[in-house]
């Protein structure tokens, strides 16, 4: 809260700290929503600029992350309304290569991850948003309701359907992956 107050006063150091603290999470959320790196980066800075401009309006009624993702939610929906970004394949970065895995096992794992990405990306924006916020950002269902401006029960319902679709999609991806390996 203090950091946001400092940002409201025009403190660029506070803004940098805030930016670095939330940049990765914000980018991931937007990447899942718009499914494109360039657009996600652009939107990340759009959201951060809104933080800079609107920090004075933040009253501390929610966590800063909830406020931040609320802005990002609206930015992402606007972007999706404006144009539907093309689904990009997952860019595997191999940031943490597991030395215990051999090349074949690593390939299998990359393939599985790509399958998960395709499955998650195939969900509707509302569903993948709930999945992403719950499973990666560790958001409570109340925070998610606040971010997307919906009742709590709507969030639970969305998660119910998202889980069901994701189960099917993941099963399909697994079978495809197994067929590819066996062939």
């Amino acid at each position: 809260m203090q950091r946001i107050r400092d940002i409201a006063k025009g403190d660029r150091a506070a803004f940098e700290t805030f930016y670095q603290a939330y940049q990765k999470r914000l980018f991931h959320y937007l990447y899942v929503m718009v499914r494109g790196v360039d657009v996600a980066e652009e939107l990340t800075n759009d959201v951060m600029l809104e933080v800079w401009k609107g920090a004075g309006r933040f009253r501390g009624q929610s966590k800063p992350s909830t406020w931040l993702f609320g802005i990002a939610h609206h930015k992402a929906l606007n972007e999706l309304r404006r144009k539907r970004p093309r689904l990009e394949p997952l860019h595997i970065s191999h940031k943490m290569p597991d030395p215990a895995l051999g090349p074949e096992a690593a390939s299998v794992r990359d393939s599985e991850r790509a399958g998960v990405w395709r499955a998650v990306s195939s969900l509707s924006p509302e569903h993948r948003e709930v999945v992403e916020l719950t499973f990666y950002h560790q958001a409570t269902y109340r925070e998610i309701a606040r971010i997307v401006s919906c009742p709590v029960n709507t969030i639970k319902t969305r998660m119910f359907y998202a889980k069901r679709h994701l189960r099917t999609l993941l099963a399909t991806e697994r079978s495809i992956s197994q067929r590819e390996r066996s062939s």
Partner: protein, 394 residues
Amino acid sequence: MNHLQIAGLLPWYVNGTLEPEERRAVEEELASCRECAAQADELKVMRAAVADCNEQFPEPSPFLFSRALSRVAEHERGKAAEKETLHGWWRRQIPVVASIILAVPLVFITAFAAVIAARSFYTQDAVVSKNAVEPVSVEYVKSSGPRAAQPQTAPDVVAQLAPASRTAAQIARTGQVALFVRHVEPAIRSLYAIAQRSGGDVVGLQDDVPSEPAARHTAEATLSVPAPRFNSTLRAAAGLGKLISETVQAENETGQIIDYRARLDNARRTEADIRQIMDRSGNIDQVLAAESELSSVRQQIEQLSAELNDAQHAVSYSTISVDLSSEAAAAGSQPPLSAQLGDAWAAARRAASAVSVALAAVVLWLVAFAPYIAALGLIAALVWLARRRRNLTA
């Protein structure tokens, strides 16, 4: 909390964000419900897969923050420029607004003054043109009869005076002034103007234009003005030139008017008596004698009425005789250049005086209407500013 409600909480049990009592309820359910436990396991796998997938997401550009800073700086510059533009705009408007504030009253004042001055000159020109067609080389008496001589320009003055004259002292005043003037013609024109301003008229004029250049130009004008304006008119007439003599006479006509009225009433009663005698008498000689007497009485009544009217008019309207004589013999038909310049200077002073009065009047009008003018100016400025801001925002 029932099974379905607990099942709905499982995703957040898996991500570890439930409240303690919710968590306890879920854990109790998981211990007793195999289906819920299976769902929880499935959700853990999903969560791990999604989290693992996220960990493999591409990193944002290392220059993303510098780009963000650039946008922040750009935003700040835009804000400063907007503020500066607005301030600069206001600064630029100061001379414009000041010019408008000064120009609007000046335009009003000039227009109003021009109208006043034009009206003033028009009136003067009308007098001059009226006099220009009148013959000045022959004796000219406008009217000699009291009824015809009564100016038609101030009937209201007579009406106001008539009732008062019955009760107050009936004074008939006459005045004579003799003047040396530089030029007789302009002085005559001024006399016409003075008489009209006083609610009277020039009822007689004798203008003797000299036949020889060495002779003096003389004129005699008779003014008839309402009695209350006698003094002011006399002063104005005397101011036209160098005063040679001034005479004021006042005659108390009260006794004479009362006498006229008494005699008139008596004559009317006599007329009525004769009529009765004529009605009663059957003798033709007596009727003829009465008829002759009646005719004489009626003549007397008419005469008395006329004399009474004359006396009353003499009281209501004062007569001023003005003798004008040129200071020097006329050198030619055209007045000298210095005289023309003097006349022009006098006309210019009169016009300047009229314009000054008009300016003062306009200033007073502007002061009186200042709140309205200020309100209109404020509204116009706000509209202008709003449009300017909209353009800047755009």
